[in-house]
């Protein structure tokens, strides 16, 4: 059974953090995205700095746009990225 979430970084976040993904342990009951950010920042201070330095940071849980109050559970895929600039 999964005990961690997969974390993906895109665009300027990926570039500044220097990798495409992380994993982070979360309890079976889950944690908020904000709590997950704290866990990731504890694992690597750079991640915390990049989060802090990214205005209008966006998050998706399992490929659907989410808020920082949403809950993340083991096995989920969580992605962080700057505002989208398609088209």
């Amino acid at each position: 059974m999964a005990t961690a979430v997969t974390v993906l970084y895109f665009a300027s976040l990926r570039e500044q953090i220097g990798r495409e993904h992380d994993t982070a342990p979360v309890p079976p009951i889950g944690v908020s995205v904000r709590a997950l950010q704290a866990i990731l920042a504890e694992q690597d201070a750079t991640v915390g700095q990049v989060f802090a330095a990214t205005p209008r940071l966006r998050v998706a849980i399992n490929q659907a746009l989410a808020t920082f109050e949403n809950t993340v559970k083991p096995g989920d895929e969580v992605a962080f990225f700057p505002p989208m600039t398609g088209g």
């Binding site: 990225f81 600039t85 398609g86």
Partner: protein, 149 residues
Amino acid sequence: MIRVCVQTEEFDVGQEAARLSRVSDSVGGMSLFVGQVREQNDGLESLSLEHYPGMTEALLTELAQQAHARFNLLACTVVHRVGTLGVGAPIVFVGSSAPHRAAALQATAFLIDRLKTGAPFWKREHFKGGRTAWVEAKEADDTAAAAWD
């Protein structure tokens, strides 16, 4: 009919138009939009387009379904390229067909306005001399997307 593609290859506007046109004898109007890489005396050479595989297709499909229902379309298509695209290269194709022109015109404007800020694509600019920069999200694009709320 809904058609959504994310691809590196160039799309064929004529073929995409033909698909939208032939979907039904009830098609009276078809509105198409093509976005392409623009150079404005800033020395831009190319864009590189990154996306979130899986989520992109899902969000574009949802967006196309919204347009289809909201404007009573007969068909709509979204094709978005990723990878490296030089100045003048087409980036995105959006098209809608409907019995009447107003629905088709509005649906295509809706699709491109919403797609700009609502699908996980990120653009990086590559300039002459090697400088690169991530394209900043524009407030005007958020305003245009929100105008359809």
